[in-house]
């Protein structure tokens, strides 16, 4: 057997641990650490309850549990069930409001 000479170099142990944080990650961390994410989550929760989205998701989960039986459902099942439907049914007004808040934050954070 011949060893291939065009094998890429063995990566150093040090290299695999560090990754260059992407811009997205940096912003995200800043977002969390300043507490802004917490505030926006609160606002989002409030808006989603007001417009009935939470009740709608609750009804979906209830129907699913009824169909499958109470003891045959895990939290993970429910999360996988409602995540796509939930994401799709968020009213545009809420999206717009949150985007506006995020933009404002980014502007202030960049300074």
């Amino acid at each position: 057997m011949r060893a291939s000479v065009n094998r890429p170099p063995t990566p150093d142990v040090g290299d695999t641990q560090e990754k260059q944080p992407t811009l997205e990650e940096i912003i995200n961390i800043k977002f969390i650490e300043s507490g802004e994410k917490e505030r926006l989550m609160e606002l989002l929760r409030e808006r989603l309850i007001e417009c009935g989205w939470k009740d709608e998701m609750k009804a979906l989960c209830r129907a699913f549990v009824k169909k499958k039986g109470r003891n045959n459902v895990t939290v993970d099942d429910l999360v996988h069930l409602i995540t796509p439907k939930g994401r799709a049914s968020i009213p545009d007004s809420i999206k717009a409001e949150l985007l506006q808040r995020i933009r404002t934050f980014l502007v202030s954070a960049a300074l």
Binding site: I32, C51, G52, E56, T74, V75, D76
Partner: protein, 550 residues
């Protein structure tokens, strides 16, 4: 009715949680308690003071759900928590950081432990500094037991005696019509009165009281003091309605009596049925209070009006800064509900969505009740004084029902007043309602429990002496506009619907009731509804002087 709702009994722990508890007991919960962060509106999360953003030990990710191992405190994300249990045997139980919920990594599901929830709730209670009464607002409460006058809501007639009497059938009218069904003549825009009277005539405990001679004319001391007694006049109406005579009755004496009581409403103009209902109950109560020379508040009142209709509402005002909650209890004879106007259209039976239409979309009674018990953030312009913070703070208010009445009157607020145009208008939204209503989710225990994330903890006690299952027996509906409209009552007796339009009574099907706009819905406790439907066929019709005349 069993005490408590079965769905709130403690779920069985999985094998892994049971093993964890055997090996580690409560030590893990106690040390976690230090890191629990409580939010004023009831949410709990795990806040580690050391690192600001928790990251998964396997993939360094910080998005999505993260779990904190109860044994070694390492953090894993959803994809990698199974890895953790594989590398460290026995490290199965973790805590969802954002939600403070137990999670079993092997079963891949949330698990529940009363001891854990107790630790969480203790943090909430302790977290409010200087709150000596914190335990009371969330923990157990001593509840004064309601004392009803003996025999008020029991069977009205000794069934042994009634069976010995010969029962005569009224051959003039349809013999299959239930007893007590009799039209009421409109005396000049009095449809509001007729509709409510019909509901009162057929409210089982109210009816039983009057028909069993609960209010005795002779002993009614009012006759000597002043000639007016609303209860005496109601008694006359009851006798007339249940006499067996099916010809429409004119409740003129009652109307006159009521005018005397509510002088400001005495006219032939159209009135509001709900206003009438409140004033009648008030009239009955006042005479009772005067006659017995008592000054009891509505909550403990023994008069028939309150005994049947009075419940207790709980109002929690929570400071959004420190979480201190101040609780007050108010008696009520009915619950006024705003129509729920969610943006999400209900699905009809064919499973297709109905397009929401501005003025005529569907609301549901359960949706209205949800809205009533939802925590409402009070605006920044109405900051309330918080005892704990010693200053005005943003607050949130939440209503719930501490004690249910025997007969629940739900008033749907269909009249909207616009402060801008200074005009009122009627909201013509159809309301979907159930025939059988379970009020458990709207009780204080359920609502307060929900606020903290459905923790297994004794939030309220003493509620279970009255059942939460109700059946509808009357619906007062309104057609038309604010200025000119008409009230019609639908009665549900022995599971058959009857339309009571002033003097005209017809058997109708459920569809007709659902197509109308309900304004006041009367629900009675299920056991009383079933009792009322059973025994009437045995009771005799009182012999009348002239069978064929008026």
């Amino acid at each position: 009715m069993t005490t408590g709702n079965p769905s709130y009994t403690n779920p069985k722990p999985c094998k892994h949680l049971a093993d964890y508890k055997l090996n580690h007991g409560l030590s893990g919960y106690k040390s976690l308690q230090k890191h629990l962060k409580t939010a004023p509106h009831g949410k709990t999360s795990v806040g580690k003071p050391s690192t600001k953003t928790p990251r998964c030990i396997s993939c360094d990710g910080f998005q999505g759900r993260l779990y904190f191992c109860l044994i070694c405190s390492s953090v894993s994300c959803l994809d990698h928590n199974l890895l953790h249990t594989q590398s460290e045997v026995g490290h199965d139980v973790a805590v969802d950081i954002e939600r403070a919920e137990l999670y079993c990594c092997v079963c891949c599901d949330q698990v529940y432990d009363p001891d854990f929830d107790k630790a969480v709730m203790s943090k909430h209670i302790m977290g409010i500094t200087g709150d000596k009464n914190g335990d009371e607002s969330i923990g157990k409460r001593l509840v004064k037991r309601r004392r009803l006058g003996s025999g008020v809501v029991e069977e009205l007639v000794d069934s042994k005696i009634s069976k010995q009497l010969i029962s005569m059938r009224d051959r003039r009218a349809k013999s299959c019509y239930p007893l007590g069904l009799r039209g009421l003549n409109n005396l000049g825009n009095t449809c509001f009165m007729n509709s409510v009277l019909q509901a009162l005539l057929h409210a089982p405990p109210f009816r039983n009281y009057f028909l069993s001679g609960g209010h005795n004319h002779e002993t009614c001391r009012k006759r000597s003091v002043d000639q007016l007694c609303l209860s005496c006049d109601i008694d006359v109406v009851f006798s007339a309605a249940f006499s067996g005579d099916r010809a429409p009755y004119s409740p003129a004496q009652f109307l006159y009596s009521w005018w005397q009581h509510s002088a400001n409403l005495a006219s032939y103009e159209q009135k509001d049925a709900h206003e009438f209902f409140i004033s009648v109950l008030d009239g009955i109560h006042e005479k009772e209070v005067k006659s017995r020379n008592q000054n009891r508040d509505n909550g403990d009142c023994q008069c028939i009006a309150h005994g049947v209709f009075s419940g207790l509402l709980r109002s929690d005002v929570t400071c959004m800064t420190c979480g201190f909650t101040s609780t007050t209890f108010d008696p009520c004879v009915d619950i006024s509900l705003d129509l729920d106007t969610s943006n999400f259209p209900p699905k009809n039976t064919a499973n297709k969505s109905i397009k929401p239409d501005a003025n005529s979309s569907m609301s549901t009674l359960l949706g209205c009740l949800d809205l009533f018990t939802r925590q409402e953030k009070l605006g920044s312009d109405s900051k309330l004084y918080c005892q704990n913070c010693q200053e005005r703070q943003d607050s949130a208010k939440q209503m719930s029902i501490k004690r249910l009445p025997l007969v629940l009157c739900l008033h749907i607020k269909r009249f909207e007043h616009s402060p801008v145009t200074k005009m009122s208008r009627k909201i013509d939204r159809y309301l979907q309602f159930p025939l059988s209503l379970d009020m458990t989710p709207y009780l204080s225990s359920s609502v307060v429990r929900n606020r903290f994330g459905n923790r297994i903890f004794a939030f309220e006690s003493g509620e279970s002496d009255i059942s939460a299952e109700f059946e509808i027996f009357a619906a007062v509906t309104h057609a038309g506009t604010l200025e000119s409209g008409h009230y019609v009552n639908f009665l549900r007796l022995r599971n058959q619907w009857y339309k009571c339009d002033d003097a005209w009574i017809n058997e109708v099907d459920e569809g007709m009731v659902r197509a109308s706009q309900c304004y006041m819905m009367f629900y009675v406790q299920k056991s009383l509804y079933q009792k009322a439907n059973e025994d009437w066929s045995h009771l005799p019709i009182s012999p009348r002087r002239n069978m064929f005349g008026q």
